[in-house]
């Protein structure tokens, strides 16, 4: 038996619902239908009254979740696609994110954002929003790259007393399988060395971890050993692990599927160069999606986002610097 990334997300929610009576799920079509992506399949049946279909009202969905959290519940909100969270944006960044700071009352809301590009999904069903949320104080932004992390980090997200933006990558939903669900895990806030190497560090997260690993494999026969760091959480960001890796390799390539301006990749570079400047033997580099909306056509899409091939090419250039 194997478990997909999507099933891991479902299982984590089932687990949370089972273990904690304060947990409930709220979002469009999450009930009997099981959600647009089937991430809540059967949960409405298993947990009657605790998996609620919402109207198409992202602002009110988020507001309701904050109210329930004030009252001690632990809501999980599913946005049908991350892109639609823009209409619930205010409640996320101004209501949820500021509550604790203003009032000392914690706001344990988990917002699940099915995000990222898949072929043919186009500009409004593909976006990466981790950057804009991470910019705001008061939010925790998680970006699991593996089945195991999808499971353990979602469980942890629900347990965290702060609003968590849980960025689950739609491309990984079916593409990624594991043998079984994990029984232990790195804590949120710790990055993971996804592959060891001594020649260069690639720092990335979510779906791009797999592209980076692919690129590292491609480079191995050429004699390059590329270390891949999976951030897991982009806010907080585990600068220590990144820095330690760069200290070993002397080279840094940051890869993100999001747009470049002010993205995770810029943030990593800013941290590494300001705090660990001497560690670098070559200029830090970044590779991101192109600065346009995400295109619909598979040909354009494949060129718009970083791929293993593009990462390998960027890495080769950097290794030669």
């Amino acid at each position: 038996m194997s478990v997909t990334y999507l099933e891991a997300i479902r299982e984590a929610q089932a687990h949370a619902l089972r273990d904690d009576p304060r947990v409930f799920i709220y979002g469009q079509d999450v009930g009997v239908f099981g959600g647009a992506h089937k991430a809540t399949k059967n949960l409405a049946r298993e947990f009657p009254g605790r998996v609620l279909d919402s109207p198409i009202s992202e602002d009110a969905i988020m507001g309701l979740a904050v109210g329930a959290a004030i009252e001690g519940l632990r809501p999980i909100v599913e946005m049908q696609f991350a892109d639609f969270s823009t209409v619930g944006f205010n409640q996320i960044v101004n209501q949820a994110a500021t509550l604790f700071w203003r009032t000392n009352v914690p706001c344990p809301v988990t917002v699940r954002l099915p995000f990222g590009g898949t072929s043919g999904s186009g500009p409004f069903h593909s976006q990466c929003m981790e950057t804009v949320y991470a910019h705001y104080p008061g939010l925790i932004v998680l970006t699991p790259a593996t089945v195991e992390d999808a499971y353990s980090m979602l469980l942890e997200a629900v347990a965290i007393d702060d609003p968590v933006i849980f960025c689950e990558h739609k491309f990984l939903y079916y593409h990624l399988k594991a043998e079984k669900l994990p029984s232990e895990a790195l804590p949120v806030g710790k990055a993971r060395i996804a592959r060891e190497g001594r020649d260069m560090t690639v720092v990335t997260y979510s779906a791009m971890v797999h592209e980076a690993l692919e690129a590292a494999k491609e480079l191995a026969p050429e004699g390059w050993e590329v270390e891949v760091v999976d951030l897991r959480s982009v806010k907080p960001m585990d600068t220590d692990t990144v820095m330690a890796s760069v200290a070993r390799t002397g080279r840094l390539l940051c890869v993100g599927e999001a747009w470049s301006w002010g993205g995770v990749t810029a943030e990593i570079i800013a941290r590494v160069t300001s705090e660990g400047y001497g560690l670098l033997d070559a200029p830090p580099q970044r590779l991101n999606a192109k600065d346009t909306p995400v295109p619909y056509h598979p040909n354009l899409w494949a060129a718009h986002r970083p791929t293993a091939r593009a990462i390998a090419a960027a890495a080769r250039k950097l290794l030669r610097l």
Binding site: V32, P123, F124, P293, H297, A302, H304
Partner: protein, 346 residues
Amino acid sequence: MLQTVLEPGTAENTALFRETYLAAYRFMLLARLLDDKFAALWRSGRIHGGVFLGRGQEALSAAAGVSLKKGDVFAPLIRDAAGRLAFGETVLDAARTYLGSALGPMRGRDGNVHRGKPKEGYLPMISHLGAMISVVNGILLARRFKKIPGTVGVASVGDGATSTGAFHEALNQAAVEKLPLVLIVANNQYAYSTPTSRQFACRDLADKAVGYGVEAGSVDGTDLDACLKTVGRAVARARAGRGPQMVVATLLRLCGHGEHDDAGYIDPKLKKTPAGRDCLKVAEEHLLRQKWAESATLTAWRSEAIHEIEQVIAQVQREPAPDPFAEEWRAISSKQLSETHDESEN
């Protein structure tokens, strides 16, 4: 885009109405067959991403399209294949968008129902529900500014979209500015899997109108005759300066939300209500009963439509896909202000 008369009163008007009805019917038929074709292409893997059909909603949609004139504005939603054609979209543009042709209006950048030609008053939707209504308002306000009289703008939404803040803000905005907006709500009983009981608690969506100070009409969305009259009247009232109009149609989505969806959640009982009728069949029966067309004519029209669709699809399938190397990766029109900093050149 034919203008519907308000009431089939005089003999002349009867003839005109019949003509409109026939035209609308043919757009419905073409839309249904085009939708079927897209569904088939999707099943065979030739279309990437989603395919969203208007099955069961063609009467309402076609009525919107034929009620508008050149120079009017139309912001269709996902189930508006018929209205798009009636408003002037070609099968070619629809096919090019669905198949991602580089020659299509969206050049492969956006696909499926996300298509339009803004400069022709035909707005390409963004996915966010409710978001197009205020854009229509903006065009209508601009026409008033430019002293271009008589424009009407139709925005089309579903029952689910009425729950969005965007819907509310835009309808109120149109009412405050007294814009010639016709807001058509296709209440097809579901928003994806969500039944109306989880979407709103009012008795009838048309009850919302009074709270905005706009006029409203309700209509059986499966009946082309009623749709033409109700939508036509609303368009005429808007054109006459009576401010925003709301039309709420009752019907049932006779397909999945998208082609990936078997719609197993649809209550079988609903299918047996009047809302569950197939508007295309209803219209055909009406045509035959009224002797506005013979059975053989209907068959001929169908063959014609299929022929057109097949030809277009064959052509589009030979057209070039967008070329990422030739693509201009730039989101703003001001070349001199676009970032020279290009990641891909790193």
